[in-house]
Symmetry: C2
Subunit: 255 residues, 2 copies
DNA sequence: GGCTTACGAACAAAAAAGTTGTTCGTTATG
DNA sequence: CATAACGAACAACTTTTTTGTTCGTAAGCC
């Protein structure tokens, strides 16, 4: 086996726990090659992130089906593809534009891609706010709201009021599911309401999404595909679905 | 001379540049005992913080008179006293209260003191937002607004709208100057407007300030002392001024 | 209640990350 | 064109973080 960095082991543990439902400390130590003490420390971290629940001797999964995996994990998965998608989306934005930037890991990469650009950005997640607060070229606007733990996505009446008070050139929207049949969908109801408000306040809407989400549909409906002016996805996107999206009047970019 | 940590040298450089207006790289290297390469790296950092402007061969100060020193420096000065003041202020807040927390380094310490407490907090600075976003016990509310570089204090119409939409039990307000004659004053006009809005939305107002600020007065008037229900300062506060504050109807705590 | 097992604090060792100084090719400025 | 300053790259060093071990304590089980 190769090297074992800390983050790598955390992912391995999370996977094992999610799959089996619950796993003992000794078993995880054997699986990862680390000592039991290290496993305990890891489990403490994951418990604090809300990924799993600790009990004496092991841990059980807390990740519900119908909800995505925790933020810290998703942000590492498919980073390569997300970066390419983000770069493509950033290229669609012209200097001087005002942009509302959705929450989620793909949009966080868009924030990184916008560092150093002369644009006005209102991010809907504190992660993106933190990235852009170090970028002197960017005019940063913070929306009000209540941040959801770990995800740090802002939602609630304050967020919707902030969006309603402004008009943007472009909205960059992430999603949990996107296809021609069901439109753009999200797991969280509050999140969906915020996305709708962001779309309503923008002249142009760009959806960013990994190819995997083109075959998924989540609980909350946000907008039909006809509301999206462009979709940026990666090269793994299946031809049939991109054809359907194009037929629905959207420009599809594959990065 | 004693040891020379990185932060220590940065403060030394900032002081020298502020005093002389502009200083050469070679001179700073002689002054600090570090190599020129290290000085260049330091100047790069300080330039990014907006403390100074780099030119070939040296740097000139960007810190205007009438404005305080940069955030990164202030946050280290008198940390001990600030912690005591913050602990005292946090003790005045009961569990379950809703609190609006002003920007500034002293209020940032109050945020740290509130970690783990069961309270609802709306901080007016992103630094405090970042501290409290890792505190699961705290219900965090983020106000909208435009963050000022480095300081990351939120201001502008979005901030004032967020404050106007809510009513708090307590406002914890920092200041640049505070005395019975001139009331509570701030350097920045936008900041002053936000402070006023925070006070207007709160039932109770606690001002936190180091003793040094009791002898200062800044540009923008925020509120008369009569609007403050309590002032928390440190033991270095001069008796005459605390007496005048008490006479004006404020409870003075010395931590 | 007594036995077993897991836990976590404390310390030591190891690994990773950050700092600093040196060298040297590149670039700005007079 | 000459000079001085700059900054990338590397190595030596320092600091911080991570990991494993030991051991006393406490939780669960019979």
């Amino acid at each position: 086996m190769g090297v074992m960095t800390g983050t790598d082991r955390l992912r391995q543990i999370t996977e094992a726990v999610c799959e089996a439902g619950s796993v003992g400390v000794a078993e995880l130590a054997r699986l990862t090659g680390a000592s039991e003490m290290t496993i305990r420390r890891d489990l403490e971290v994951l418990a604090a992130q809300g990924v799993l629940q600790r009990y004496r001797g092991g841990a059980r999964s807390l990740v519900l089906r119908g909800e995505g995996p925790p933020f810290a994990l998703r942000s590492q998965e498919g980073l390569e593809a997300k970066r390419r998608i983000a770069a493509e989306a950033a290229a669609l934005i012209a200097d001087g534009e005002s942009v509302v930037l959705d929450s989620g890991t793909t949009c966080l990469e868009v924030a990184r891609a916008l560092e150093g650009r002369r644009v006005t950005v209102m991010p809907l997640s504190l992660h993106a706010v933190n990235v852009l607060s170090g970028a002197p070229e960017v005019t940063l606007l913070v929306p009000g709201g209540r941040p959801r733990p770990a995800e740090l996505a802002l939602a609630g009446p304050l967020t919707e009021a902030s969006l309603a008070a402004l008009r943007f050139d472009t909205a960059v929207i992430g999603c949990c599911g996107l296809n021609a049949a069901n439109g753009l969908t999200a797991y969280d109801l509050d999140d969906a309401a915020v996305k709708r408000a962001a779309i309503a306040s923008s002249r142009r809407v760009i959806a960013v999404t990994e190819a995997a989400k083109l075959t998924r549909t989540a609980l909350a409906h946000v907008a039909p595909v006809s509301a999206l002016h462009a979709v940026v996805t990666d090269t793994a996107a299946p031809d049939e679905e991109t054809a359907r999206l194009t037929a629905a009047g959207t420009v599809v970019h594959r990065a």
